[in-house]
Amino acid sequence: VSLPLAIILGWLLLTTAVGVLAGLNRRFGLEEYFVGERSLGTVLFYTLAAAEIYSAFAFLGLAGWAYAKGVSVVYALAYMPLAYAFYFFLGPRINRLGRRAGYVTQSDFLEDRYGSRTLGVGVAIVGVVFILPYLQLQLLGTGIITQIASGGALGRDAAIVLSTLSLVVFVSFSGLRGIGWTNLMQAVIMLLGMTAVGILVPRHLFGGIEPAMDVLQRLRPDHLRLPDSGGLGVTWYASTVLLSAIGAWMWPHVFATTYGAASERVVRRNAAILPLYQLAAIPVTLVGLACAAKAALDPEFAALVRHPDHAMLIALVTSCGPWVAGIIGAGGVAAAISTASALMLTAANLCARNVVQKGLLPQLPDRRTAWLARTLVIPVALVATVLALRAPDMLVNLLLVGYSGIAQLAPAIVLGMFSRVPSRAGIAAGLAAGIGFAVVAQLAGWRLPGAVHPGLAGLVLNVACVLAVSRFTRPPEPERLDRFGRLLAG
């Protein structure tokens, strides 16, 4: 066993142990398993949210994008601060509703607000459909990071299986509380890994960031401007930032985390301090650009990078010692696992709570639903693992539209909180139109005027449909809206 592999596997073992310990001596009812008994304080919520949001993309895709296309990658730095600004107003309301109405999933909220069980079940199924490819990608990420960082000492498939086993054990044992405690560790090592890679790799490649950027400006100046080497310009950038900022809090797993916060104050305080974690993405972005400079200068390095997403890790193992490679590799695996754990939990919870308990078996008691969710973690993990191992590219199209698709929930959620206008038929029509347009436009490769993001165009269509159809259809009963208004009242 090589030293980097020993560090990565040791970290995986420690993660599993901490996750299991967090759930010892707990009586797992619905609220405990799904939302950690709504007890997450400021620090635990901060690390949970930060680690959930930073996925394998932070270690693979971010640097890979900068390597292949250039500076348009800063959209990934820009959208989260904007998302937190939305969250400042939205988050405390989500938390308040969860606490007062006993919601444990995003679909609980939509079902209650619009008085439609069908809508709740439908949105839960849509959520699981968009979660699966995202989960598959995280598992693939653990495999790729472990394989490259360990210098091939452990194969990709074996690493995927080991990571999945670790996830199944602590997610099914401890639920959101286990994820909260493991993410506390993951957030620290991710931060360490992202900072270290930003300092060490450019120094080894060029002696620092500035010389690397000098080379890039000389040999690949398009990498430093918008539109960049990928042809992505300002309109694309702004529309993608806006879509991603709106979509960020619509993911069902992030919604459930907000239910888990101990108070609205915890949520609002985090909306103010969470943007700072985003600064950790800057070193990784710069490393991606430094790798592009290296590839422009050194054909041997360019030949080593068979996929842009691998560029940073290849630069890491070719230029840093085994200790550093191990720690940064563990940071990368942590980024993937921390997101995968929340996705796994949420997919199982949506199936157990909204598809089974609310759809198929309405008499199922809450306690049994919690047990069902714990059990369903296994098939969810199995499906994602099989897809990651056997058909890694099969769901890639679905993943491409994941953010666009999930952002289409925004009108249902935001208008549901701030307006009495939308009817259930309006919301259903808006969702169908928005998701339909975004999926077709993206899969068919339509290029919209100004390269506007298709998901944002879908969102505009979605809102228009909600408003138009709601005008001519029956709104939810006034008593429901009044009760909802009382729940929301400060």
Binding site: L82, A85, F88, R96, M213, A238, R265, R268, L276, L279
Partner: protein, 73 residues
């Protein structure tokens, strides 16, 4: 919009933070200069946006607490 008076005041702090990422501002930032402090200007600009958003949110939180009282639920 069912914002509380404190949230309405907080909104005034949050709107300027969003300006960092608007197309005309990005357009300016994209063409302003290639690099600053050795790093691409757009990366530097995004870092400024992140810090500004955080500061604006802290000011918004303070303004909201002063008017509505702290969230204590």
């Amino acid at each position: 919009m069912r914002l509380t008076p404190g949230e309405a005041r907080a909104l005034r702090w949050m709107i300027p933070a969003g300006l960092f990422f608007l197309p005309p501002v990005t357009n300016w930032a994209a063409g302003a200069r290639p690099r600053v402090l050795g790093i691409p200007f757009l990366v530097f600009w995004s870092a400024c946006g992140i810090l500004a958003t955080s500061l604006a949110a802290l000011a918004a939180l303070r303004a909201k607490d002063r008017i509505d009282g702290p969230d204590d639920r």
